[in-house]
Symmetry: C2
Subunit: 229 residues, 2 copies
Amino acid sequence: MTATYRQVKADLLEQITKGAWPPGGQMPGEAALAAQYNCARATVNRAMRELVADGIIERKRKAGTRVRMAPLRQARFAIPLVRQEIEEQGATYRYGLLHAAQITAPDWLCKGMKLNAGQEVLHLTCLHSADNTPYQFEERWINLAVAPMAAQADFSQTGPNEWLVAALPFSSADISFQAVEADDQLARHLACPVAAALFQVERTTWWEGAAITFVRLTHRPGHRMTTQY
Amino acid sequence: MTATYRQVKADLLEQITKGAWPPGGQMPGEAALAAQYNCARATVNRAMRELVADGIIERKRKAGTRVRMAPLRQARFAIPLVRQEIEEQGATYRYGLLHAAQITAPDWLCKGMKLNAGQEVLHLTCLHSADNTPYQFEERWINLAVAPMAAQADFSQTGPNEWLVAALPFSSADISFQAVEADDQLARHLACPVAAALFQVERTTWWEGAAITFVRLTHRPGHRMTTQY
DNA sequence: CAGTGGTCTAGACCACTGA
DNA sequence: CAGTGGTCTAGACCACTGT
Protein backbone atom coordinates (compact mmCIF):
# COMPACT_ATOMS: atom_id res chain seq x y z
CA MET A 1 0.00 0.00 0.00
CA THR A 2 1.66 3.15 -1.20
CA ALA A 3 0.81 6.56 0.24
CA THR A 4 0.16 9.99 -1.21
CA TYR A 5 1.86 13.05 0.18
CA ARG A 6 -1.44 14.06 1.76
CA GLN A 7 -1.72 10.78 3.58
CA VAL A 8 1.87 11.00 4.71
CA LYS A 9 1.36 14.55 5.92
CA ALA A 10 -1.84 13.67 7.74
CA ASP A 11 -0.28 10.64 9.36
CA LEU A 12 2.81 12.52 10.45
CA LEU A 13 0.61 15.23 11.92
CA GLU A 14 -1.35 12.63 13.80
CA GLN A 15 1.79 11.02 15.14
CA ILE A 16 3.06 14.40 16.25
CA THR A 17 -0.24 15.26 17.85
CA LYS A 18 -0.25 11.98 19.68
CA GLY A 19 3.21 12.72 20.88
CA ALA A 20 5.06 9.98 19.03
CA TRP A 21 7.95 12.41 18.82
CA PRO A 22 7.98 14.89 21.67
CA PRO A 23 8.43 18.59 20.96
CA GLY A 24 12.08 19.13 20.19
CA GLY A 25 12.48 15.45 19.46
CA GLN A 26 14.01 14.11 16.30
CA MET A 27 11.92 12.42 13.65
CA PRO A 28 13.05 9.68 11.29
CA GLY A 29 14.81 10.76 8.11
CA GLU A 30 13.11 10.99 4.75
CA ALA A 31 14.55 7.73 3.53
CA ALA A 32 13.26 5.82 6.55
CA LEU A 33 9.81 7.30 6.27
CA ALA A 34 9.69 6.64 2.53
CA ALA A 35 10.40 2.99 3.25
CA GLN A 36 7.82 2.91 6.03
CA TYR A 37 5.09 4.46 3.89
CA ASN A 38 6.24 2.55 0.85
CA CYS A 39 6.52 5.64 -1.30
CA ALA A 40 9.24 7.69 -2.95
CA ARG A 41 11.40 10.01 -0.93
CA ALA A 42 10.08 12.97 -2.91
CA THR A 43 6.61 12.20 -1.59
CA VAL A 44 7.77 12.27 2.01
CA ASN A 45 9.74 15.39 1.19
CA ARG A 46 6.70 17.23 -0.01
CA ALA A 47 4.68 16.22 3.02
CA MET A 48 7.40 17.43 5.33
CA ARG A 49 7.94 20.65 3.43
CA GLU A 50 4.30 21.48 4.01
CA LEU A 51 4.64 20.73 7.69
CA VAL A 52 7.51 23.19 7.77
CA ALA A 53 5.35 25.80 6.06
CA ASP A 54 2.65 25.14 8.64
CA GLY A 55 5.11 25.82 11.41
CA ILE A 56 4.88 22.29 12.84
CA ILE A 57 8.41 21.03 12.31
CA GLU A 58 11.90 22.38 11.66
CA ARG A 59 14.43 20.84 9.33
CA LYS A 60 18.15 21.27 8.99
CA ARG A 61 20.53 19.48 6.73
CA LYS A 62 22.55 16.89 8.48
CA ALA A 63 20.79 17.68 11.75
CA GLY A 64 17.55 16.12 10.58
CA THR A 65 13.95 16.98 11.31
CA ARG A 66 12.58 17.98 14.68
CA VAL A 67 9.15 18.80 16.04
CA ARG A 68 9.02 22.47 16.96
CA MET A 69 9.34 23.18 20.66
CA ALA A 70 6.61 25.76 20.63
CA PRO A 71 4.48 25.28 17.57
CA LEU A 72 4.82 28.41 15.51
CA ARG A 73 1.43 29.95 15.82
CA GLN A 74 0.76 31.97 12.75
CA ALA A 75 -2.31 32.98 10.86
CA ARG A 76 -3.04 34.42 7.48
CA PHE A 77 -5.58 37.09 7.03
CA ALA A 78 -6.88 38.66 3.90
CA ILE A 79 -6.25 42.32 3.35
CA PRO A 80 -9.69 43.37 2.30
CA LEU A 81 -10.73 45.93 -0.23
CA VAL A 82 -13.32 48.01 1.58
CA ARG A 83 -15.78 47.73 -1.26
CA GLN A 84 -15.65 43.93 -1.20
CA GLU A 85 -15.80 43.80 2.57
CA ILE A 86 -18.94 45.92 2.59
CA GLU A 87 -20.64 44.21 -0.31
CA GLU A 88 -19.99 40.78 1.19
CA GLN A 89 -21.97 41.89 4.19
CA GLY A 90 -24.85 42.53 1.85
CA ALA A 91 -24.68 46.28 2.31
CA THR A 92 -24.52 48.99 -0.32
CA TYR A 93 -21.11 50.47 -0.79
CA ARG A 94 -20.70 54.17 -1.28
CA TYR A 95 -17.53 56.14 -1.73
CA GLY A 96 -16.88 59.80 -1.29
CA LEU A 97 -13.78 61.91 -1.84
CA LEU A 98 -13.57 64.53 0.88
CA HIS A 99 -10.39 66.32 0.06
CA ALA A 100 -7.46 66.15 -2.34
CA ALA A 101 -4.39 68.32 -2.50
CA GLN A 102 -0.80 68.19 -3.60
CA ILE A 103 1.43 69.06 -0.67
CA THR A 104 5.01 68.87 0.46
CA ALA A 105 5.48 65.77 2.57
CA PRO A 106 5.65 66.55 6.28
CA ASP A 107 8.64 65.26 8.23
CA TRP A 108 6.89 62.35 9.91
CA LEU A 109 5.75 61.09 6.52
CA CYS A 110 9.23 61.41 5.03
CA LYS A 111 10.50 59.15 7.79
CA GLY A 112 7.85 56.50 7.35
CA MET A 113 8.05 56.47 3.57
CA LYS A 114 11.78 57.17 3.35
CA LEU A 115 11.20 60.21 1.19
CA ASN A 116 13.64 62.99 0.47
CA ALA A 117 12.76 66.17 2.33
CA GLY A 118 10.56 68.43 0.30
CA GLN A 119 9.08 65.62 -1.78
CA GLU A 120 5.66 66.36 -3.22
CA VAL A 121 2.86 64.00 -2.31
CA LEU A 122 -0.81 63.75 -3.07
CA HIS A 123 -2.88 63.91 0.08
CA LEU A 124 -6.38 62.45 -0.01
CA THR A 125 -9.12 61.92 2.49
CA CYS A 126 -12.08 59.73 1.64
CA LEU A 127 -15.03 58.11 3.29
CA HIS A 128 -16.34 54.63 2.62
CA SER A 129 -19.93 54.04 3.64
CA ALA A 130 -22.09 50.96 4.07
CA ASP A 131 -25.80 51.53 3.58
CA ASN A 132 -25.17 55.26 3.89
CA THR A 133 -23.58 55.07 7.29
CA PRO A 134 -19.88 55.83 7.66
CA TYR A 135 -17.84 52.64 7.63
CA GLN A 136 -14.22 53.58 7.15
CA PHE A 137 -12.35 56.85 6.99
CA GLU A 138 -9.32 56.82 4.73
CA GLU A 139 -6.45 59.24 4.84
CA ARG A 140 -3.81 58.63 2.20
CA TRP A 141 -0.58 60.05 0.90
CA ILE A 142 0.76 59.04 -2.51
CA ASN A 143 4.37 59.52 -3.50
CA LEU A 144 4.26 61.50 -6.74
CA ALA A 145 7.87 60.67 -7.51
CA VAL A 146 6.97 56.99 -7.86
CA ALA A 147 3.41 57.35 -9.10
CA PRO A 148 3.24 60.66 -10.98
CA MET A 149 0.18 59.49 -12.88
CA ALA A 150 -1.74 59.69 -9.62
CA ALA A 151 -1.80 63.48 -9.99
CA GLN A 152 -4.01 63.11 -13.07
CA ALA A 153 -6.18 60.32 -11.76
CA ASP A 154 -9.77 61.03 -10.88
CA PHE A 155 -10.48 59.96 -7.34
CA SER A 156 -13.92 61.48 -7.13
CA GLN A 157 -15.69 58.31 -8.24
CA THR A 158 -13.31 55.49 -7.39
CA GLY A 159 -11.26 55.04 -4.24
CA PRO A 160 -7.51 55.46 -4.47
CA ASN A 161 -7.02 51.91 -3.33
CA GLU A 162 -8.84 50.47 -6.30
CA TRP A 163 -6.92 52.79 -8.59
CA LEU A 164 -3.60 51.75 -7.10
CA VAL A 165 -4.39 48.05 -7.23
CA ALA A 166 -5.14 48.44 -10.92
CA ALA A 167 -2.15 50.65 -11.67
CA LEU A 168 0.52 48.89 -9.62
CA PRO A 169 -0.89 45.46 -8.85
CA PHE A 170 1.93 43.58 -7.22
CA SER A 171 3.74 45.16 -4.35
CA SER A 172 4.81 44.54 -0.80
CA ALA A 173 3.71 46.36 2.30
CA ASP A 174 4.19 46.97 6.00
CA ILE A 175 1.02 46.91 8.03
CA SER A 176 0.23 47.84 11.56
CA PHE A 177 -2.96 47.57 13.58
CA GLN A 178 -3.83 49.59 16.62
CA ALA A 179 -6.58 51.17 18.66
CA VAL A 180 -6.92 54.96 18.62
CA GLU A 181 -9.25 57.46 20.20
CA ALA A 182 -11.39 59.45 17.83
CA ASP A 183 -10.22 63.01 17.41
CA ASP A 184 -12.53 65.79 16.20
CA GLN A 185 -12.00 64.96 12.55
CA LEU A 186 -12.55 61.23 12.95
CA ALA A 187 -15.58 61.75 15.17
CA ARG A 188 -17.11 64.08 12.61
CA HIS A 189 -16.56 61.81 9.63
CA LEU A 190 -17.42 58.56 11.34
CA ALA A 191 -20.36 60.07 13.20
CA CYS A 192 -19.14 58.83 16.55
CA PRO A 193 -18.32 60.47 19.87
CA VAL A 194 -14.97 62.12 20.33
CA ALA A 195 -12.60 59.71 22.12
CA ALA A 196 -14.45 56.62 20.94
CA ALA A 197 -12.14 53.62 20.55
CA LEU A 198 -11.49 52.98 16.86
CA PHE A 199 -9.69 50.18 15.07
CA GLN A 200 -7.06 51.61 12.78
CA VAL A 201 -4.87 50.07 10.11
CA GLU A 202 -1.78 51.77 8.76
CA ARG A 203 -0.14 50.47 5.64
CA THR A 204 2.94 51.53 3.74
CA THR A 205 3.13 50.05 0.27
CA TRP A 206 6.46 49.52 -1.48
CA TRP A 207 7.37 49.15 -5.11
CA GLU A 208 10.89 48.10 -5.88
CA GLY A 209 12.26 49.62 -2.70
CA ALA A 210 10.42 52.92 -2.88
CA ALA A 211 7.28 53.78 -0.96
CA ILE A 212 4.28 54.32 -3.20
CA THR A 213 1.74 55.20 -0.60
CA PHE A 214 0.99 55.42 3.07
CA VAL A 215 -2.57 54.97 4.17
CA ARG A 216 -4.39 55.18 7.47
CA LEU A 217 -7.73 53.41 7.55
CA THR A 218 -9.90 54.09 10.55
CA HIS A 219 -12.99 51.98 11.09
CA ARG A 220 -16.23 52.86 12.74
CA PRO A 221 -16.67 51.86 16.37
CA GLY A 222 -17.18 48.17 16.95
CA HIS A 223 -15.32 47.00 13.86
CA ARG A 224 -13.69 43.60 14.14
CA MET A 225 -11.09 41.96 12.02
CA THR A 226 -11.28 38.18 12.17
CA THR A 227 -9.40 35.19 10.89
CA GLN A 228 -8.62 31.58 11.68
CA TYR A 229 -5.64 29.29 11.89
CA MET B 1 20.96 26.92 -19.56
CA THR B 2 18.60 25.10 -17.23
CA ALA B 3 16.69 26.88 -14.51
CA THR B 4 15.88 26.17 -10.88
CA TYR B 5 12.36 26.49 -9.56
CA ARG B 6 13.40 29.67 -7.79
CA GLN B 7 14.60 31.21 -11.00
CA VAL B 8 11.47 30.16 -12.80
CA LYS B 9 9.31 31.58 -10.04
CA ALA B 10 11.23 34.84 -9.95
CA ASP B 11 11.10 35.21 -13.70
CA LEU B 12 7.39 34.44 -13.89
CA LEU B 13 6.77 36.99 -11.16
CA GLU B 14 8.76 39.55 -13.09
CA GLN B 15 6.85 38.84 -16.26
CA ILE B 16 3.59 39.18 -14.41
CA THR B 17 4.72 42.40 -12.77
CA LYS B 18 5.76 43.77 -16.13
CA GLY B 19 2.36 42.89 -17.45
CA ALA B 20 3.41 40.21 -19.91
CA TRP B 21 0.12 38.51 -19.08
CA PRO B 22 -2.54 40.97 -18.03
CA PRO B 23 -4.61 40.26 -14.90
CA GLY B 24 -7.12 37.61 -15.81
CA GLY B 25 -5.03 36.64 -18.78
CA GLN B 26 -3.96 33.13 -19.52
CA MET B 27 -0.37 32.03 -19.11
CA PRO B 28 1.42 29.32 -21.07
CA GLY B 29 1.01 25.75 -19.87
CA GLU B 30 3.57 23.92 -17.80
CA ALA B 31 4.92 21.98 -20.73
CA ALA B 32 5.53 25.12 -22.77
CA LEU B 33 7.26 26.88 -19.92
CA ALA B 34 9.37 23.84 -19.15
CA ALA B 35 10.60 23.89 -22.73
CA GLN B 36 11.20 27.61 -22.60
CA TYR B 37 13.22 27.44 -19.38
CA ASN B 38 14.82 24.19 -20.44
CA CYS B 39 13.87 22.38 -17.28
CA ALA B 40 11.57 19.57 -16.22
CA ARG B 41 7.87 20.14 -15.96
CA ALA B 42 8.03 19.35 -12.24
CA THR B 43 10.29 22.34 -11.78
CA VAL B 44 7.83 24.68 -13.45
CA ASN B 45 5.08 23.02 -11.47
CA ARG B 46 6.72 23.78 -8.17
CA ALA B 47 7.35 27.40 -9.13
CA MET B 48 3.73 27.84 -10.12
CA ARG B 49 2.41 26.08 -7.05
CA GLU B 50 4.25 28.62 -4.93
CA LEU B 51 2.78 31.46 -6.95
CA VAL B 52 -0.64 30.03 -6.20
CA ALA B 53 0.20 29.91 -2.50
CA ASP B 54 1.30 33.53 -2.72
CA GLY B 55 -2.03 34.48 -4.22
CA ILE B 56 -0.55 35.66 -7.51
CA ILE B 57 -2.09 33.20 -9.94
CA GLU B 58 -4.99 30.78 -10.16
CA ARG B 59 -4.89 27.37 -11.76
CA LYS B 60 -7.57 25.02 -12.92
CA ARG B 61 -7.24 21.75 -14.70
CA LYS B 62 -8.01 21.95 -18.33
CA ALA B 63 -8.68 25.69 -18.02
CA GLY B 64 -5.01 26.48 -17.48
CA THR B 65 -3.30 29.13 -15.42
CA ARG B 66 -4.38 32.74 -15.13
CA VAL B 67 -3.05 35.80 -13.40
CA ARG B 68 -5.40 36.78 -10.61
CA MET B 69 -7.68 39.68 -11.42
CA ALA B 70 -7.20 41.34 -8.08
CA PRO B 71 -4.06 40.02 -6.52
CA LEU B 72 -5.08 38.24 -3.36
CA ARG B 73 -3.68 40.49 -0.71
CA GLN B 74 -2.94 38.41 2.32
CA ALA B 75 -0.46 38.56 5.10
CA ARG B 76 0.78 36.19 7.72
CA PHE B 77 1.35 37.28 11.21
CA ALA B 78 2.78 35.43 14.12
CA ILE B 79 0.57 34.85 17.11
CA PRO B 80 2.94 35.87 19.83
CA LEU B 81 3.39 34.45 23.25
CA VAL B 82 3.35 37.48 25.52
CA ARG B 83 6.50 36.41 27.30
CA GLN B 84 8.44 36.17 24.02
CA GLU B 85 7.01 39.40 22.73
CA ILE B 86 8.13 41.25 25.84
CA GLU B 87 11.51 39.62 26.09
CA GLU B 88 12.25 40.32 22.45
CA GLN B 89 11.80 43.97 23.23
CA GLY B 90 14.56 43.63 25.79
CA ALA B 91 12.21 44.13 28.69
CA THR B 92 11.76 42.00 31.78
CA TYR B 93 8.69 39.82 31.73
CA ARG B 94 6.59 39.40 34.81
CA TYR B 95 3.44 37.41 35.23
CA GLY B 96 0.79 37.63 37.88
CA LEU B 97 -2.37 35.62 38.50
CA LEU B 98 -5.10 37.93 39.70
CA HIS B 99 -8.03 35.62 40.07
CA ALA B 100 -9.01 32.03 39.47
CA ALA B 101 -12.35 30.35 40.01
CA GLN B 102 -14.42 27.49 38.72
CA ILE B 103 -17.74 28.80 37.52
CA THR B 104 -20.70 27.80 35.43
CA ALA B 105 -20.28 29.15 31.93
CA PRO B 106 -22.41 32.23 31.29
CA ASP B 107 -24.70 32.19 28.28
CA TRP B 108 -22.58 34.39 26.04
CA LEU B 109 -19.63 32.08 26.61
CA CYS B 110 -21.67 28.97 25.84
CA LYS B 111 -22.54 30.48 22.50
CA GLY B 112 -19.00 31.40 21.57
CA MET B 113 -17.52 28.10 22.71
CA LYS B 114 -20.50 25.95 21.75
CA LEU B 115 -20.83 24.61 25.27
CA ASN B 116 -23.79 22.84 26.77
CA ALA B 117 -25.66 25.05 29.18
CA GLY B 118 -24.42 24.66 32.72
CA GLN B 119 -20.96 23.54 31.70
CA GLU B 120 -18.26 24.21 34.28
CA VAL B 121 -15.34 26.35 33.19
CA LEU B 122 -12.22 27.68 34.84
CA HIS B 123 -12.15 31.46 34.82
CA LEU B 124 -8.80 33.19 35.15
CA THR B 125 -7.59 36.75 35.05
CA CYS B 126 -3.90 37.51 34.78
CA LEU B 127 -1.61 40.40 34.14
CA HIS B 128 1.53 40.34 32.03
CA SER B 129 4.00 43.11 32.73
CA ALA B 130 7.05 44.46 30.94
CA ASP B 131 9.64 46.08 33.18
CA ASN B 132 7.04 46.20 35.92
CA THR B 133 4.52 48.21 33.95
CA PRO B 134 1.28 46.56 32.86
CA TYR B 135 1.53 45.26 29.32
CA GLN B 136 -1.39 42.95 28.72
CA PHE B 137 -4.44 41.99 30.71
CA GLU B 138 -5.66 38.46 30.13
CA GLU B 139 -9.10 37.12 30.88
CA ARG B 140 -9.53 33.46 30.11
CA TRP B 141 -12.09 30.70 30.32
CA ILE B 142 -11.05 27.05 30.04
CA ASN B 143 -13.49 24.29 29.20
CA LEU B 144 -13.09 21.74 31.97
CA ALA B 145 -14.92 19.10 29.97
CA VAL B 146 -12.12 19.08 27.41
CA ALA B 147 -9.21 19.98 29.65
CA PRO B 148 -10.08 18.68 33.12
CA MET B 149 -6.41 18.67 34.10
CA ALA B 150 -6.55 22.45 34.01
CA ALA B 151 -8.39 22.37 37.33
CA GLN B 152 -5.28 20.96 38.99
CA ALA B 153 -2.76 23.10 37.15
CA ASP B 154 -0.91 25.80 39.04
CA PHE B 155 -1.34 29.10 37.26
CA SER B 156 0.25 31.21 39.95
CA GLN B 157 3.71 31.06 38.41
CA THR B 158 3.15 30.35 34.72
CA GLY B 159 0.55 31.87 32.45
CA PRO B 160 -2.30 29.65 31.27
CA ASN B 161 -1.22 30.16 27.69
CA GLU B 162 2.16 28.56 28.26
CA TRP B 163 0.50 25.75 30.14
CA LEU B 164 -1.98 25.14 27.33
CA VAL B 165 0.65 25.25 24.62
CA ALA B 166 2.56 22.59 26.50
CA ALA B 167 -0.48 20.47 27.31
CA LEU B 168 -2.31 20.65 24.00
CA PRO B 169 0.24 21.88 21.49
CA PHE B 170 -1.48 21.60 18.15
CA SER B 171 -4.86 23.13 17.74
CA SER B 172 -6.82 25.52 15.57
CA ALA B 173 -8.36 28.82 16.53
CA ASP B 174 -10.61 31.71 15.62
CA ILE B 175 -9.15 35.11 16.26
CA SER B 176 -10.61 38.57 16.21
CA PHE B 177 -9.04 41.96 16.70
CA GLN B 178 -10.80 45.10 17.76
CA ALA B 179 -10.55 48.39 19.59
CA VAL B 180 -12.33 48.75 22.92
CA GLU B 181 -12.69 51.47 25.49
CA ALA B 182 -11.18 50.75 28.87
CA ASP B 183 -13.79 49.95 31.50
CA ASP B 184 -13.10 50.33 35.21
CA GLN B 185 -11.47 46.95 35.53
CA LEU B 186 -9.22 47.36 32.50
CA ALA B 187 -8.26 50.88 33.50
CA ARG B 188 -7.31 49.70 36.96
CA HIS B 189 -5.22 46.76 35.79
CA LEU B 190 -3.56 48.48 32.87
CA ALA B 191 -3.04 51.72 34.79
CA CYS B 192 -4.70 53.81 32.11
CA PRO B 193 -7.59 56.27 32.04
CA VAL B 194 -11.12 54.93 31.83
CA ALA B 195 -12.31 55.01 28.19
CA ALA B 196 -8.77 54.86 26.80
CA ALA B 197 -8.66 53.12 23.41
CA LEU B 198 -7.20 49.62 23.82
CA PHE B 199 -6.21 46.99 21.30
CA GLN B 200 -7.91 43.73 22.10
CA VAL B 201 -7.52 40.21 20.78
CA GLU B 202 -10.09 37.50 21.31
CA ARG B 203 -9.24 33.92 20.54
CA THR B 204 -11.22 30.70 20.73
CA THR B 205 -9.07 27.61 20.56
CA TRP B 206 -10.44 24.32 19.26
CA TRP B 207 -9.33 20.76 19.74
CA GLU B 208 -10.99 18.16 17.59
CA GLY B 209 -14.15 20.17 17.21
CA ALA B 210 -14.53 21.19 20.84
CA ALA B 211 -13.56 24.54 22.28
CA ILE B 212 -10.74 24.32 24.78
CA THR B 213 -10.49 27.92 25.76
CA PHE B 214 -11.64 31.42 25.04
CA VAL B 215 -9.28 34.24 25.86
CA ARG B 216 -9.50 38.00 25.71
CA LEU B 217 -6.17 39.79 25.65
CA THR B 218 -6.25 43.52 26.17
CA HIS B 219 -3.11 45.52 25.55
CA ARG B 220 -1.94 48.72 27.13
CA PRO B 221 -2.64 51.95 25.26
CA GLY B 222 -0.51 52.52 22.19
CA HIS B 223 0.08 48.86 21.45
CA ARG B 224 0.62 48.03 17.81
CA MET B 225 0.54 44.74 16.00
CA THR B 226 2.65 44.79 12.88
CA THR B 227 3.45 42.53 9.97
CA GLN B 228 4.50 42.57 6.35
CA TYR B 229 3.53 41.01 3.06
C1' DC C 1 -13.19 13.62 -25.22
C1' DA C 2 -9.06 15.88 -24.90
C1' DG C 3 -6.10 19.14 -22.66
C1' DT C 4 -4.32 20.85 -18.41
C1' DG C 5 -2.64 20.55 -13.99
C1' DG C 6 -1.81 17.10 -9.85
C1' DT C 7 0.95 13.74 -8.25
C1' DC C 8 4.19 9.89 -7.99
C1' DT C 9 8.59 7.56 -9.02
C1' DA C 10 13.45 6.01 -9.05
C1' DG C 11 17.49 7.76 -9.37
C1' DA C 12 20.83 11.33 -9.19
C1' DC C 13 23.75 15.16 -7.66
C1' DC C 14 24.44 18.84 -4.60
C1' DA C 15 24.79 22.02 -0.40
C1' DC C 16 24.99 22.51 4.02
C1' DT C 17 26.50 21.51 8.55
C1' DG C 18 27.10 18.65 12.81
C1' DA C 19 30.17 15.40 14.71
C1' DC D 1 33.82 14.10 6.09
C1' DA D 2 29.71 11.89 6.07
C1' DG D 3 24.73 12.20 6.68
C1' DT D 4 20.63 14.77 5.89
C1' DG D 5 17.64 17.51 3.45
C1' DG D 6 17.16 20.34 -1.16
C1' DT D 7 16.40 20.03 -5.73
C1' DC D 8 16.18 18.31 -10.45
C1' DT D 9 14.87 14.92 -14.04
C1' DA D 10 12.34 12.13 -17.45
C1' DG D 11 8.69 9.67 -17.68
C1' DA D 12 4.28 8.09 -16.27
C1' DC D 13 -0.56 7.84 -14.89
C1' DC D 14 -4.46 10.12 -13.15
C1' DA D 15 -8.35 13.56 -12.12
C1' DC D 16 -10.80 17.11 -13.29
C1' DT D 17 -13.36 19.94 -16.33
C1' DG D 18 -14.13 23.00 -20.48
C1' DT D 19 -15.61 22.40 -25.12
